[in-house]
């Protein structure tokens, strides 16, 4: 039987960050990844905020296969027949170090895996963990394809719906309220065409979010990120919202419909879809986080619930990287102390509380509920776009003054609701 210092289950961002950090300190780390290689099946929208994690891995970024730095932030409010798009281009977005980048996981994860291997981590792809081995209340290893593998500590980084955390008793089977689904296509286009269509200079990129009709008014939104030679286009929508409400919406249909919208169709014209993927996203916020540690086990990344869906945008990659890093730090501390009890490993939670990870989750703790309000996804986009259509309309009669145009669309009652909604959102 083989024994390692640490077994990491799942070679996604969380797992690789943990393995990289531990291997750097010369621990014997085994990463088990069920995909053909790291990144093979991982789904993300594709936007990574680098600032919060830059210093955790100081040597890492120079050669990282990042796609484009995001220099233009856009929001498109979509009503049934019209849309309004706002584009923000700030100078600070064009200054190094850049805040955020578009990334492609198939490339990025594979590269990160190589870096972890260079540090000495052992990566075994195409191997799925089927079971957690628990002896006397302590996690001592895992079973994978008939092999029994032991370690001082196991780090569960196996993504949303983590089997490892569940078997270790740290997480309840999923509640649909706490998950969203995402669908995404990668559409290849010539770089010059991308730069032209999105008004980009050189390696600049744009991030566009779609809200409103794209999800038929349900909680969620669409996203479009520019990569070097492709676009990432997708939809995220709450599972609960998909399940209730009639008529039932087929989520893949939403993405198809989004592609048909003239505003989108013209951006992707001539492109070739080279990848289609779907994935669940934990999004219950703070209250849905798993218990983060137990005897001989830590949980990081999506497995722990560290991703956040604030309606139109999902963040998870930097939480995955950071929580993987802090899990590794907790292991190093436990190793010094020579024990791997839950009590000892609880330092992980302290480290996280001190970091941007838990601070973000605290700050955004009301996000899902505040945004769980259909008006954001139906009434407002419809209202704004209708106002716009009338503002710009030139009929045969004299043009109406602007104020009455706006007022016409708002009753007192609506104004009141609106104020309430925005008061809640202000907390975000």
């Amino acid at each position: 039987m083989e024994k390692f210092d640490v077994i990491v289950v799942g070679g996604g961002l969380a797992g690789l960050a943990a393995a990289y950090t531990l291997a750097q300190e010369d621990l014997e780390v085994l990463v088990l990844e069920r995909g053909d290689y790291s990144g093979a099946k991982n789904v993300t929208g594709g936007r990574l905020y680098l600032n919060p994690v830059r210093d955790l891995f100081p040597d890492l970024w120079k050669k990282a296969p990042l796609e484009r730095f995001i220099a233009h932030e856009e929001v498109a409010m979509m009503a049934e027949k019209r849309s309004v798009t706002i584009r923000y281009s700030g100078e600070e977005l064009r200054q190094e170090p850049y805040q955020s980048y578009s990334v492609l996981r198939a490339k990025f994860d594979r590269w990160l895996a190589k870096q972890a291997e260079r540090k000495g981590a052992m990566l075994v792809a195409k191997s799925r963990v089927d079971e957690v081995i628990i002896e006397n209340g302590q996690v001592v290893g895992v079973r994978a394809g008939g092999d029994e593998l032991h370690a001082d500590v196991v780090i569960a980084c196996d993504g949303a719906l983590s089997l490892v955390a569940e078997q270790a008793g740290l997480r309840q089977p999923g509640n649909p309220h706490d998950f969203a689904v995402g669908f995404k296509e990668i559409i290849e286009l010539d770089p010059a065409v991308i730069e032209d269509r999105f008004g980009l200079e050189g390696n600049e990129g744009a991030a566009r979010l779609y809200m409103g009709e794209v999800t038929r008014g349900k909680f969620g939104g669409g996203f479009l990120y520019t990569n070097k030679e492709s676009l990432s286009l997708g939809i995220v929508v709450g599972i609960k919202d998909l399940m209730d409400g009639s008529p039932q919406v087929q989520a893949p249909q939403l993405l198809d419909d989004l592609k048909q919208r003239p505003e989108v169709a013209s951006l992707i014209r001539g492109g070739q879809t080279v990848e289609y993927s779907a994935h669940v996203i934990p999004e219950g916020g703070l209250k849905a986080l798993t218990k983060l540690y137990g005897n001989g086990i830590l949980v990081a990344g999506d497995a722990a619930g560290f991703s956040m869906n604030i309606g139109v945008t999902v963040r998870g990659m930097e939480y995955a990287l950071a929580s993987g890093y802090y899990a590794a730090q907790a292991v190093l501390k436990a190793r010094e102390a020579g024990q791997y009890t839950a009590n000892q490993l609880s330092v992980y939670e302290l480290l996280l509380k001190d970091s941007f990870v838990m601070k973000d989750f605290q700050n955004f703790k009301d996000a899902p509920t505040a945004l769980d309000n259909p008006r954001f996804f139906t009434v407002y986009p419809e209202m704004v776009t209708t106002m716009m259509s009338e503002l710009y309309a030139v009929d045969d009669g004299p043009k109406e003054r602007i104020y009455p145009t706006i007022k016409k669309h708002l009753t007192i009652r609506e104004m009141w609701d609106m104020l309430g909604d925005f008061r809640k959102v202000r907390k975000l």
């Binding site: 053909d36 593998l149 290849e188």
Partner: protein, 251 residues
Amino acid sequence: MNIVVALKQVPDLQQIRLRNRQPVLDDVPLTLGNIDKNALEAAVALKEAQGGNVIALSAGDENIEDTIKEALAAGADEAFLVADDQLQGAESSWIATVLAEAVKKIDQVDLLLFGEGSADNYSGQVGSRVAEILGWPQVAYAINIEVNGSTAAVTRSLEDCDEIVEVSLPAVITVLSDINEARIPSVTQILKAGKKPKEVLELDDLDVELPDGSPVETISNLAPDSQRKKVVVKTVDELLQALAAEGVIRR
């Protein structure tokens, strides 16, 4: 008994995409040819039955050291590699020359196994050419191999019949994928693979110099241009109507 198995490093064909009918090979992960894995399995099965040593042989670019781990995990005892950028995807006669020279450097080879065809090129030449260079007998399209001392009984599967032949050793045998089901290595085997011995040579070590122009030139390599109608039909009736309208069935 020393059994050498030639395995080719190829791009994972499932991951190749097409752009404007051109295959896109950047970033496609490398793997070993499928049928080559059957050849390895045949070698490992022989070793397990009668003892011996299985050596994985491959010529490719520098990634080959990594890729060959798959073979070491699946039962090869050691690897003999020729690593040089010129060799990745090189023309068959060049590869054959290199592999034959490598085999000459390995002691006492009894059996030299190949896949019937490589996953990407599938030309079935390399095994035959190596056999000729070494002056060894050969049997291709094997679906069964039994070694009895200094000979092997091999079943060669042809289109219309199976031939059972007796071949004296050392010999070259190329296998069909039907010969066995290649095993999937366990995690422990994969981990141990990293520690198995590997000999890595360069072209210079073999005293082989590749000529300038390739004997085979590729003028173009494009996906076929097939425009299909992709009409969705909901019922059997609709389908039959459409096929009748095409004139391919009578109704």
